[in-house]
């Protein structure tokens, strides 16, 4: 009996002391804040990004437009009305989230991931198992975090967002380790579903370093007397320097040995027997341009790869991607009806195949070269933005511009309104620009253009 009495007595004394203290130490709180706290769910879920409902309420009083950050409140019409009454006027701006990735099952894996099915954990291991550094990992952290259950994982391995339920609270944006969920205005009609800014620089460097030393470059760079055509004659480099001008990689340079050169005439001497063409092992990609141009035929180049290339001219949309990006400038338009012309200097890197938005180009290498362990350029994802910029020209409202930092088309949502033609969607051969709400992944169409 005594123990029960004791605990009750102690509890009572403390309760009394606390209530007196509560009265004495009362803080006069803003009436609006208090009312807002009452309206908010009070579950302190933290999805809004603030530390609990009371912290959010204080911010909300200052800026009512943040109301949609709390999805629990924003999906409840009564609460929205109550808040609107309290603040007098419109509260919150309905926004929506879109996933900036089109990959999913179209994206290849860098390695087999067998760990915990969580994006944030997977992303810690070599930036995730997807070959594309900007690709959706597809383990659905966003699905778990969404307070309104608006996100579902689609069949294609990309989360699908139910626009009726999404309030644009941004909880998924914060949780996504790849930062590929974007909050956009509700009235926005289209978005660009790719976030990879690659210009294939790294792939190209990997290719060049993998062919390093696998091709051959031999040249008679000195002038020597040799027996040729049944008589002795001088053969070798005549220092015409044509090869230096033609080399696409600046692998050849003309140097003059310092011994025979006085300092005064450094800049005057260009073609002289004292100088010599120097070939740089690191820069040469064995394209054979110098061999072709050499009037004396003293250069001999052996390509590291052999193969064939093919272009389906009907599929070409004349984006000029392949022409501009080819590392050996092997491609060009022919004068008549703009057909793509392949010269003989192809190094079979596969760059043009990778950058072609309509897959019009195929580059094959011969069977024996496949064993050479050369890292040819391949896209990690078949739905990656190829930077063809067709969408920019297609938009009749100039709402799409090229983001030079991101290397991606960027839609200006202030201009992108009242559009009936939706020309950007049709212009994108890969369907990377999508209508919001109809995000079902389409496979790239095979496009034919009429000329």
């Amino acid at each position: 009996m005594i123990e029960i009495f004791t605990i009750v007595a102690i509890g009572f004394i403390f309760a009394l002391a606390l209530s007196i203290a509560a009265d004495r130490l009362k803080i006069v709180m803003d009436e609006k804040v208090e009312k807002t706290i009452e309206i908010l769910p009070g579950s302190n879920c933290g999805a809004c990004g603030f530390s609990g409902c009371s912290a959010f309420a204080e911010t909300l009083v200052k800026d009512p437009s943040l109301a949609n950050k709390c999805a629990q409140t924003y999906t409840d019409e009564e609460k929205v009305e109550a808040l609107a009454d309290l603040f007098g006027g419109e509260i919150g701006k309905k926004q929506k989230a879109v996933v900036l990735c089109n990959g999913g099952i179209n994206c290849t894996d860098k390695f087999e991931y067998d760990g915990e099915r969580s994006c944030s954990i997977a992303a810690n291991i070599y930036k995730g198992n997807k070959a594309c550094d900007y690709g959706c990992l597809g383990f659905g952290d966003c699905v778990k975090v969404c307070p309104t259950l608006a996100i579902k994982m689609g069949d294609e391995g990309i989360p699908l967002i139910d626009l009726d339920k999404c309030t644009g609270c941004g909880a998924c944006v914060d949780i996504c380790p790849k930062k590929i969920i974007l909050i956009i205005p509700e009235e926005a009609p289209v978005f660009v579903a790719c976030n990879n800014p690659t210009l294939w620089d790294d792939d190209l460097d990997a290719f060049f370093s993998s062919i390093h030393g696998k091709g051959k470059f031999t040249a008679i760079l000195d002038r020597i007397e040799a027996y040729k055509d049944k008589r002795y004659q001088m053969i070798g480099c005549t220092r015409c320097l044509k090869c230096i001008d033609i080399c696409p990689r600046d692998a050849l340079e003309f140097t003059i040995s310092e011994k025979t050169l006085s300092t005064t005439d450094v800049y005057k001497i260009t073609k002289t027997d004292q100088g010599r063409i120097r070939w740089s092992d690191d820069l040469c990609v064995y394209c054979k341009r110098c061999e072709k141009i050499c009037p004396e035929s003293v250069i001999y180049v052996e390509k590291p790869l052999n193969g064939s290339f093919n272009i389906v001219q009907d599929k070409c949309v004349e984006c000029e991607n392949c022409i501009n990006l080819c590392p050996v400038r092997n491609l060009s338009f022919t004068d008549d009806d703009k057909k793509i012309f392949f010269d003989e200097f192809c190094i079979y890197c596969g760059f043009c195949e990778a950058v072609c938005p309509t897959s019009a180009i195929t580059v094959e290498i011969s069977a024996e070269d496949k064993l050479k362990r050369i890292k040819r350029i391949k896209n990690s994802c078949s739905n990656i933005c190829r930077k063809c910029k067709l969408c920019i020209n297609a938009c009749d409202k100039n709402a799409i511009h090229w983001d030079e930092e991101q290397n991606l088309p960027k839609i200006d949502y202030e201009r992108c309104t009242d559009c009936l033609s939706r020309a950007c969607i049709d212009s994108c051969p890969l369907h990377i620009i999508k209508i919001i709400g109809e995000e079902k992944v389409k496979s790239p169409i095979l496009m034919t253009t009429t000329r």
Binding site: E3, I10, A17, L18, L25, S51, A55
Partner: protein
């Protein structure tokens, strides 16, 4: 006097609550990101520790033992601590709203901080005198501040250093804490 100093040092260094006895690890990782927050959190915990040690000593010696109801100790101690934290929360909220926000959820969490209950239990089971309890709880609190301050200093350094991607954040903090704990074990050789 020497005895009190010995008790103080014992719980500040030799039996450091966080790094040797592994009590109160939650705020150790939660509030040790910034030095200023760590000191404030440490001071609040110290205050609760000392105050609850005084009250629990009084209750234990004047209520529990005379009435022969020692088995109630846990319930009563928790009641005392919970009430005290409530009081502290009110005081902090009144005096410094900024500190109240920074401490955030960790302030109510002192209620369930095992270091606070731990010192009350230690005082009781070892039968320390009144001054002894104060000395030991003060030592525990100072040890708590010490651990938090060292840890937050290290973590502020870690923020700007080149940590491998997969170890960033808590993982490297855990490793640091374990090394820190190892080094604190050397105080075991202190002769008090």
């Amino acid at each position: 006097m020497n005895e009190l100093l010995a008790l103080f040092l014992k719980y500040a260094l030799v039996n450091n609550f966080i790094l040797v006895m592994f009590l109160g690890l939650c705020p150790f990782f939660g509030v040790s990101k910034r030095l200023s927050d760590a000191i404030r959190m440490g001071l609040s915990v110290t205050f609760v520790m000392v105050a609850s040690a005084i009250i629990t000593w009084l209750i234990a010696n004047f209520i529990l033992i005379p009435f022969n109801i020692e088995f109630m100790e846990n319930v009563v101690f928790i009641l005392v601590i919970a009430s005290f934290v409530q009081l502290l929360e009110m005081i902090i909220r009144k005096t410094s709203i900024g500190l109240y926000r920074t401490l955030g959820i960790y302030l109510p969490l002192i209620t369930t901080n095992c270091a606070v209950l731990g010192i009350a239990e230690i005082n009781y089971t070892n039968g320390f005198s009144f001054l002894g309890s104060i000395a030991s709880s003060l030592g525990g609190g100072v040890g708590f501040i010490l651990a938090l301050v060292i840890m937050s200093g290290l973590r502020e350094r870690l923020e700007i250093s080149d940590v491998p991607e997969s170890l960033k954040g808590l993982p490297i903090a855990f490793i640091t804490a374990s090394l820190l704990s190892l080094s604190f074990l050397t105080f075991g050789g202190l002769r008090i």
